[in-house]
């Protein structure tokens, strides 16, 4: 019989890194992302009995995190810079020649409109399907497919070297 605490330990160790990253891309501030992540897990602990399937754990946590983030803005307007105005951290686990590329992609990602950035992050960071993203965002799978398609187009256009946005998937 696995105890509730053991189950929670395993959940935290398996998911906290990605959840922190998702929190960071939601709010654009490392300290706030840390607080949001902690608060998310505290709420998850309090309602852990509601988690029936381990496969649904990540989606469940993302739901709690997004609510926490929304609640933060209901309570007060944090005194933070907009996400597209911040200095983005460099990854510390990549080869030096990759750091430059990462910084460019991050800046482009930070400038993406939230309606494109959020579903794309859920797909890339969380590995969610369009159907799962639609369920989480209260949207439709078709709308999510359009959003993630356009998100990639906009990113590639912003990064240059891929031609204009509309030509990204131009056929030969």
């Amino acid at each position: 019989m696995v105890s509730k605490q053991s189950q929670f330990d395993a959940l935290v160790r398996a998911t906290s890194a990605d959840l922190y990253r998702f929190a960071y891309w939601l709010c654009g501030n490392e300290a706030l992302a840390h607080d949001l992540t902690q608060e998310t897990y505290l709420r998850a602990w309090r309602s852990l009995d509601n988690l029936r399937e381990t496969a649904a754990a990540k989606a469940w946590l993302v739901t709690i995190l997004r609510r926490e983030h929304a609640r933060l803005y209901e309570r007060k307007t944090p005194d933070f810079e907009p996400i597209d105005a911040i200095e983005l951290p460099e990854a510390d686990h990549h080869a030096p020649d990759q750091l430059g590329d990462d910084a460019l992609v991050r800046r482009a990602m930070a400038k993406l409109d939230a309606k494109y950035r959020e579903p794309l992050l859920m797909q890339v960071l969380g590995g969610f399907s369009c159907e799962e993203i639609a369920a989480e965002l209260g949207s439709t799978p078709g709308a999510v497919m359009t959003q993630v398609f356009r998100a990639r187009q906009k990113l590639k256009a912003a990064l240059g070297g891929y031609g204009e946005e509309g030509k990204v998937y131009e056929l030969p």
Binding site: V12, Y20, T37, R75, V124, C130
Partner: protein, 241 residues
Amino acid sequence: MNCLEFRRAIGTDPRGLDAAALAHRAACPRCNEAHERALQFERSLSAAVAIAVPENLAERILLHQTTAALHEPRTRRMPVWSIAAACVVGIALAATLGWRIFVANASLTDLAVAHLAHEPFALSARAEVDGSAVRAMFASLGVPITRSPGTVHYLNDCPLDGHMSVHMVMQRDSGPVTAMYVPRLHEARRDFERAGVRGRESTLGDGTLILLAADAREFDAIESQFQYAFAGGDGSAVGAP
């Protein structure tokens, strides 16, 4: 699947191609190259969004959780008789209020009274909640108070009418008194009785304080304690009347 459909598919989810897309890729060298480029971009994207995670993040989260769990008021053990008594009170309340409460256009008062039945254990809580936990709960809802409003025996943050509220119970000589504070909602001051529950709503700071009990004799004293708790700093938090 034709080339256009394939390009749309790799733009939507390059790592999640279905059988038809994979068959097209195998038959079309140009689309195969396009898919390779899309996967290369995907690798760059994954690496870029994977920002560095704070050192010992999981351990910090677990420390935060285990520390909070130790001080969680609702996790305190209660005697079996106390649990049974609370259940009886809760069931009786739910049965008494029942249909009266869950009517259309329920007011804040109705919802607060109905909420009593949702957490029946609260009414029999006897262990004192640390004052710092009370202040922290208010602070978490964006309401700083300078001191705890008297001795609190149950503390929780509960949704009420779409707003998060601080739900407290204070054991007094006249019996348990439930106090709920709803930030940023303003109701006119009034006393009421609803299905055998006596109540009072009053504006306090930037929100509404709701007191509920079988006996209202402690309401004045408890309301004063709350006003005192809110009256820190320049005293501007104290609401009218």
